[in-house]
Amino acid sequence: MEKIFQKTRGLNDRIFHYCPGCGHGIAHRMVAESLEELSLLEKTVMISPVGCSVFLYWYFQTDNVQASHGRAPAVATGLKRANPGSIVVSYQGDGDLASSGTAEIIHAAARGENFTVVFINNAIYGMTGGQMAPTTLVGQKSSTSPYGRDPKFAGYPIHVCEMLATLKAPRYIERTALNNVANLNKTKKAIRKALELQEKGEGFSFVEILSPCPTNWGQSPDEAMKWLEDNMIPEYPLGVFRDAKPGEVKA
């Protein structure tokens, strides 16, 4: 029989601990496949964040380091500066990156650090049980915004790609989503491109991925995909926010 599909060598043979319908598993596979396709697995150091993907090192067949909440871009900076020949991937959730670690991500991007950030935006704190995140939508209910996020008290969602795109140093910034096959393909392409740019030493590359959290949104996996499409994508438009050499500011 002809084998037409096999699991990537980038992932260990271990069952994900993620909830059914969660986007983390899909994003993991795309990162791992891309690293394998580009023959980068053997020189990659993955950074696992604080959040549902804290045990990322259970899965990736690479070197791994666990960073404290929000600090992954600083850890990545140290890793990459110590070992410029390695491929460094910081994998972070929105609570981690857009709340605790806002200073770290902005300054790593502003320095144009030559590593890749995969940013999983699920509009909520997953691991701690569904509290409001900086990316939670206006009106969205969470365990700490039980009446829906009210901008009078909680402000408005933070748009990370747009914010980072105001800086001159980043090389590549794109937002994608996991809601249908076309967008899955775009996500995979964006991750590959980000890694390729890093390998060529071109600078900071950033892929934001809109991803479902059925558990904490209180929805079935199907409903969550639909909710992502109807609510998150209008708030967080997909597309390329930067594809230029550092210093040239253009989309």
Binding site: F60, R71, V75, L79
Partner: protein, 351 residues
């Protein structure tokens, strides 16, 4: 033979670090330690594989150290008291992940913004924790510019040997003081970190650097392992200096810059036929408790002198364990005790 050069304490630390093979420095400006990042920003970019980054905060600086130390290379940061407070999260993670690195605290007045004058009030933070969880740093306290250089090299070696962060603590005036210092021709590094360092998983399973152990039994085992290491360090790495202790009845205990004042105190008391001596801890952790306990047999009393409201005195008390009285004399806010003040203090208790 290398020759002596006149250097500021802070510069001696920086030069010694470079000579010891430190390739990576991450830090943030704060008085009175800014000569260290300034020196590193001149030196490291000119060295093969060297990198200097002015981090956006001390929080980031310590996490850059965490990343760099994960590769097995020699990395360091330095700061002063308020900055070191910001680093505490990262320091706990470094200790938890058993990463070797050098941390320098050129201490100033506190709490809060305090002032930029010298103090020793970060003793508790350095020695008893400061970050969360059960851990220890190895803490080294130099008392001269030469020792700032020597203990920097020693600090990297100890860090490598035990896979543990090492902190050098010195008072602001020591950092700013100029004295002659001599460096050796070379400082060999002998520890091989390839068994765990993150360099890419070529031809081997991936390495993991982490401090998370969700299951209670795993976490307990891991802390037990850490504490076996700390036990070994306590048995083998205690460093201290004794001055005129052979027949001493009055035992003064002081570290860092204060020990230089106390040395004069001992000499002054000896001229008056008072049998005084000094024990100077060089490692603040592991603490030289055995020698203090031993000297309690011959002592009439102990007097601990510090530039704080009394932090190390607790360790002296624990070491003496009730055998003899332990008194305390301290100045703070940048006030350095004078020999005359301490002599007068001794005479209050000496009959």
């Amino acid at each position: 033979m290398s020759k002596k050069v006149l250097m500021k304490g802070n510069e001696a630390i920086a030069e010694a670090a470079v000579r010891a093979g430190c390739k990576l420095y991450f830090g943030y400006p704060i008085t009175p330690q800014s000569e260290i990042p300034e020196y590193m920003s001149r030196r490291l970019p000119k060295i093969e594989g060297g990198a200097y980054i002015q981090a956006e905060t001390e929080v980031s600086a310590i996490n850059m150290v965490y990343g760099a130390a994960s590769t097995g290379k020699r990395a360091m940061t330095s700061s002063s008291s308020p900055g070191v407070s910001l680093m505490m999260e990262g320091i706990s993670y470094l200790a938890g992940a058993e990463l070797p690195c050098l941390l320098v605290n050129i201490m100033r007045g506190g709490p809060g913004l305090g002032n930029i004058n010298p103090e020793q009030a970060d003793y508790f933070q350095a020695v008893k924790g400061g970050g969360h969880g059960s851990y220890h740093l190895i803490v080294l306290a130099p008392s001269s510019v030469q020792e700032m250089a020597d203990l920097t090299v020693e600090g990297f070696n100890l860090a490598d040997k035990y896979r543990n962060p090492v902190m050098v603590v010195a008072e602001g005036n020591l950092g700013q003081m100029m004295e002659p210092v001599e460096f050796k021709e070379s400082y060999p590094q002998t520890v091989d970190h390839s068994a765990w360092a993150l360099t890419g998983a070529k031809g081997r399973p991936g390495h993991v650097v982490t401090s998370i152990y969700l299951a209670a039994e795993d976490m307990e085992k891991y802390i037990q392992k850490l504490y076996r290491k700390y036990d070994l360090i306590e048995k083998t790495e205690v460093r201290y200096e004794e001055f005129m202790m052979d027949d001493a009845e009055v035992v003064l205990v002081a570290y860092g810059i204060v020990s230089r004042v106390v040395r004069n105190v001992v000499e002054a008391l000896r001229e008056e036929k008072i049998k005084a001596g000094m024990i100077r801890p060089i490692t603040l952790w592991p603490y030289p408790k055995d020698i203090i306990r031993k000297r309690a047999d011959q002592a009439k009393f102990f007097l601990t002198c510090e530039m704080s409201t009394g932090q190390m005195v607790e360790d002296v008390l624990l070491s003496v364990n009730g055998k003899k009285p332990v008194y305390f004399y301290g100045r703070f806010g940048g006030m350095v005790p004078t020999p005359a003040e301490i002599v007068a203090e001794v005479k209050k208790y000496y009959k």
